[in-house]
Symmetry: C2
Subunit: 124 residues, 2 copies
């Protein structure tokens, strides 16, 4: 139930962790577009750890950081917030906005259709 929210920089750091599965400070730093000081990245990770969104284990002299919340859960929370605040609760409007993207490959659209068909075909 607890709301999950990440300010911009922390979201970028989480994104790296979700993508890589886990990472050291140096690895996160490497993966970020902007190059920040080592300690800046470390600070973000420590803040995230305070909030309970990541944890770390010692690995040699360094720490390896792991995401504690799953991307799907964070995504669900973020999407619900957007749906309610921006699309006034309409998942349909939100969906319309997503598929309006011209760059969306046809294949992906078709997988969405399949997914939707399965979802609609569930037990009555």
């Amino acid at each position: 139930m607890s709301e999950i929210y990440f300010p911009p920089r922390e979201l970028e750091v989480m994104s790296v962790l979700w993508r890589l599965g886990s990472a050291t400070v140096a690895e996160v730093r490497e993966a970020l577009r902007e190059d920040l000081a080592y300690t800046s990245v470390l600070s973000a990770l420590q803040t995230l750890e305070d909030k309970g969104y990541v944890r770390h284990e010692a690995e040699g002299r360094a720490y390896r950081y792991f995401p504690v919340v799953e991307a799907e859960r964070a995504g669900g929370s973020a999407l619900a917030r957007i749906r309610d605040a921006i699309f006034q609760g309409s998942a349909e409007r939100m969906f319309a906005q997503i598929v309006s993207d011209r760059g969306l490959p046809r294949e992906e659209l078709e997988r969405m259709r399949r997914l939707l068909a399965e979802r609609l075909g569930e037990k009555p």
Copy 2:
């Protein structure tokens, strides 16, 4: 191209403006769940105006505030950010998360299907 981003409280205020079309400070304050001091709401609106997201017109002694950015545009920006950061660029994964909501009415799912069919049926 410019990135649109709203911190939590400002997003709530924008949400009210999108829902009502326009509103005075008192109306926004009324619409918010938490009850904040009048000046707190005013401050948020002034900040949003500084950023260029809302404008105001005089209406009697009060100001009436209007959103300058459309909900769809703000939504597109927010969704792209979530898609890239949380779902690693996959609109499909994001969509899967959306339709996993058990509370989604069947009718809405079917309208999504229709929408998708139209989108897929576009001439090549």
